[in-house]
């Protein structure tokens, strides 16, 4: 149970500034997701919190204690790695109990804790296997089990689902969310996938180029993206964004409209030609070529009669336009 407070955290590798001053408070029990494009510094920031990297500047408090210089094991955190990082030469039982045995916990006590943890994660039957004899999802659960037995104040996850296939990924998403609900521990979760961020987070931190673009709940970010970057990053399909002359004509630097807020009909603001239609079943994504605008993506109902080559009019839904 702990609050995590970052003040002015910076990190450079040699001459390259990777984290450029981060101020952030993650409240006790919150599920906080760091999201951003690959290379924006998410992992680095998480590893600074973990103590695997030392920040070049700034301070870090966990549960009210300054831990900027503490060893990872003394910070009350635990981490689930993208590769799971299970010890290949140890059984599941030994993997989960490794930290406890280092801490010289008595053997029968370790056995009791490991058994209990395995039960909550449905790993009882796998306890004597080696990691290479497990499936991806099972490895994931062992990695989580290893973290739980540390009884941490903060869980850190670095893209834990990116090595799983799509169906397993959505299942594990739910399992982790349920775990959070049950433990009510602070969790910090790194992903480049905005769907994961939207579905799991209490609070999303959008990172870009080593700085924070916006912090907020998923719906805040969706409804009121503070920057064009956030606007383009959150939401799928991506928001239509226009810059330069087009935007100036509409009285701004950048003009944006989400595909689901583009209305198609027999008349409207922009005349366009249908280039391509993606049928998703319930919905259809229509790609238009609009004169004077360029390409425009619209989301419409699945039973749309539009065909490539056909003409259609498009209008922005009032009140849903973004001007920056």
């Amino acid at each position: 149970m702990a609050e995590v407070v970052l003040k002015g955290i910076r990190k450079s590798f040699g001459a390259v500034d990777v984290i450029k001053g981060i101020d952030l408070t993650i409240r006790d029990g919150e599920f906080c997701v760091f999201v951003g494009p690959s290379g924006c510094g998410k992992s680095t920031l998480l590893r600074i919190i973990a103590g695997l990297e030392t920040a070049t500047g700034g301070t870090l408090h966990i549960d009210g204690r300054e831990v900027s210089k503490a060893e990872p094991s003394e910070r009350g955190i635990t981490m689930v790695f993208q590769s799971y990082a299970l010890y290949p030469h140890l059984t599941v039982r030994q993997n989960i109990g490794f930290g406890l045995s280092l801490a010289k916990v008595p053997k029968d006590e370790i056995a009791r804790i490991v058994t209990a943890t395995a039960a909550t994660l449905q790993l009882e039957k796998l306890l004597d296997r080696k990691p290479k004899e497990l499936s991806g999802g099972q490895r994931q659960r062992v990695a989580i089990g290893r973290s739980i037995v540390r009884n941490p104040k903060v869980f850190l996850f670095d893209e834990p689902l990116s090595n799983l296939d799509a169906s397993l990924r959505s299942q594990m998403r739910i399992e982790i969310t349920e775990l959070h609900a049950k433990l009510a521990t602070t969790m910090i979760y790194v992903t480049h996938d905005q769907v994961e961020a939207m579905t799991m987070a209490d609070k999303i931190v959008v990172l870009n180029g080593g700085t924070i673009e916006q912090v907020g709940s998923p719906m805040e970010l969706y409804n009121a993206p503070a920057t064009p970057f956030v606007a383009g990053f959150i939401g799928s399909p991506k928001m239509n964004l226009y810059e330069g002359k087009l935007a100036q004509e509409m009285g701004c630097q950048t003009y944006g409209i989400r595909p689901e807020h583009v209305l198609l009909g027999a008349e409207g603001r922009w005349q366009g030609r249908v280039k391509h239609v993606e049928h998703l079943g319930a919905d259809a994504i229509v790609h238009l070529d609009v004169e004077g605008l360029g390409s425009l993506v619209a989301r419409t109902t699945g039973d749309t009669g539009l065909r490539p080559g056909g003409d259609v009019w498009a209008s922005p839904q009032p009140g849903k336009e973004f001007r920056y």
Binding site: T78, A85, F98, G99, L102
Partner: protein
Amino acid sequence: MTRRQYWTGIIATVLALVIFVVPFVFIAFTAVKDKAQASHLDFTWPLQFLFWQNLVDVVSTRNYMLLLAYFNSSIITVGAVAMLILFGAMVGYVLQRRQSRWNKVIFGCVLAGLIIPPAVVPTIWVMQGLGLFKTIWGMVFIQVAYGLAFSVLLYRSFIATIPRDLDEAARIDGARPLQIFLRVILPLLKPVTVTLIVVQSIAIFNDFTNPLYYLPGKENVTVQLTLFNFQSQFSTQFNLLFMNILLVTIPPLIVFIFFNRQIVAGMTAGAVKG
């Protein structure tokens, strides 16, 4: 298999038997002959098979010197290989995991160790100063000093294949540096460790030059030194001399039969990268 592959194979096998196998058969034959027949030095079928008698004669020569030699050689080999494994892995680990200007220094030392011939007399001078000259322990440390470069190189390239995540997971689990190394990294190095044990044991067991310089004296004899000295002792008893050769050939043969794969891996891995 084509006809061509078949016949090439037959011819190659015959040639290999003549070139590579005959000398070993010659050793075995001469080793079991009686003194008179052995002195002809010819490649003939033994008239008598005196295996046990020649064996006992060689072993009991000069007050069972050969037994002492095997004992000394074993101690030197086991002691040196144990240190080469532990020290080599520790250096290879730090060298691979940590990037700093010290790495260049360490790497320079490794290359120096591979290329520079040891300066013999100054080494004796240093060992005398430390009381290590003519001692088994001195010999062990010499073998460690000379074998380290190869161990470090082999370990370093293998450790590069072990993900750093494992070290970090162990750190988070509360492992101290030595615990990470001993409980996570070292067990994962087993394949190279086996290779190194085999390759270095053979090299150290077969070493002649270093014991010749650093381990003179009757009570310190090693297997290779004994063999060399028996060359003059047995100048008229070739059967016993070749029985001795047979005895020093058997340990590597046994190791080779059991660890063929590891030896091949070690020799080529160390070589192709080096």
